[in-house]
Subunit: 133 residues, 4 copies
Amino acid sequence: MNKKVFEFEMKVRDYECDAQGIVNNANYLHYFEVTRHEFMASLGTSFKESHLLGVDPVVSRADLHYKSPLAGNDLFISSLTVERKGIKIIFHHAINRKSDGALCCKGTIEVAIIVNGKLSRGDCYDELMKQYL
Amino acid sequence: MNKKVFEFEMKVRDYECDAQGIVNNANYLHYFEVTRHEFMASLGTSFKESHLLGVDPVVSRADLHYKSPLAGNDLFISSLTVERKGIKIIFHHAINRKSDGALCCKGTIEVAIIVNGKLSRGDCYDELMKQYL
Amino acid sequence: MNKKVFEFEMKVRDYECDAQGIVNNANYLHYFEVTRHEFMASLGTSFKESHLLGVDPVVSRADLHYKSPLAGNDLFISSLTVERKGIKIIFHHAINRKSDGALCCKGTIEVAIIVNGKLSRGDCYDELMKQYL
Amino acid sequence: MNKKVFEFEMKVRDYECDAQGIVNNANYLHYFEVTRHEFMASLGTSFKESHLLGVDPVVSRADLHYKSPLAGNDLFISSLTVERKGIKIIFHHAINRKSDGALCCKGTIEVAIIVNGKLSRGDCYDELMKQYL
């Protein structure tokens, strides 16, 4: 895959770990969400801005594979690539520990686009994300 | 204090514990919030309903004393009493472990009331909560 | 599917909703986790107890399909069935709004079992969950 | 107050906002916690490291005053000063919105120190934090 990759560095916060001392599974969805928002910001827009224009991306599916757990204070690189698939946009996410590059979690997030209340292709996103598609 | 007490039973969820195996401090504010919402529900209303009527209670202060930590799966009783103090409403919260009655956390939550965008006494609350005041 | 179904009723907490006024996607993983823990409790055990016996189930994959969003204070039924698949255990989860039965989220959670640090079939789980398999 | 101030910049994550579109009250405790952990890291240590040495700081009180709400994507400066008060250590926290400097939340966090299971002054902290005391 020669797709352009967006990367964002983050650090595990202790309260994101559970009693096992590792990041709770649900938090990877939070990390992915933050990364998509930072990705949108890097393109000069935001989901909030989309919303005001009547364009609402909604997550229709999340598929996560847990590989190696992150622990408190671990630095990690959260990366994504984007794919257009019919009326959906697919984000391919990966989270790698910074210290050793180990893959901690990878996942795909399928996003459907609602324009003025109706399911739509949301072509505006193709233009916006063209350097990544 | 002979005030009428509202009680609500809850159970610690494992993901609310942090790496030390005990409930993270911030979650007690969540427990208190849930208890106030259940309290409002017991009075036949909700903060959402208030909001639609232009009445918005906002937390202006939260003062929590941590006593004995809750751990995963602990059952606990979250209780509250209410006090009117000038234009504010004060909720006195306590959380006791069910198994031994131990006090885990107590706190006061000060709520200011905004009616149509302006700070107000929100007299409607006195009528609503009269059996607890 | 004639599998025995485990059901657990829950209620959305307001802080689980995000700025769109609906439950944030990540919280469905929390709801699933709580349901598995209550399921284990219904069988007279817990993941904590397993851990003390050197048996650690770990989530290796989570695949969620979002259908209809839950909002603040919604009551919902979280249900699951269990399947043994090679060395993994698969939990099939569903969350249905109580008021109208609408499917809000369904998902599969794959669990791998680590016994004394090594990947294992964890046969003890077959015995424990036999009425559901 | 001429105390040395530790500052850490953060950004609101959308999932930290609740249905009112503003940061949920409990998250300020998370922001404070992250700030104390970054403060410890700036001193070359961590609470985890303390724990391994048998020294466990525990929050005994949290007193928060909410001033102006943060919203999604807001950048903010989280700052703290430290005070020794008898056997406790007091952290004075403040969170200011970056765009206009507005005070969003201030609070004091009282920390008690447990050394090998007993309440202690934890003199090692005075040495460690001397430039801030």
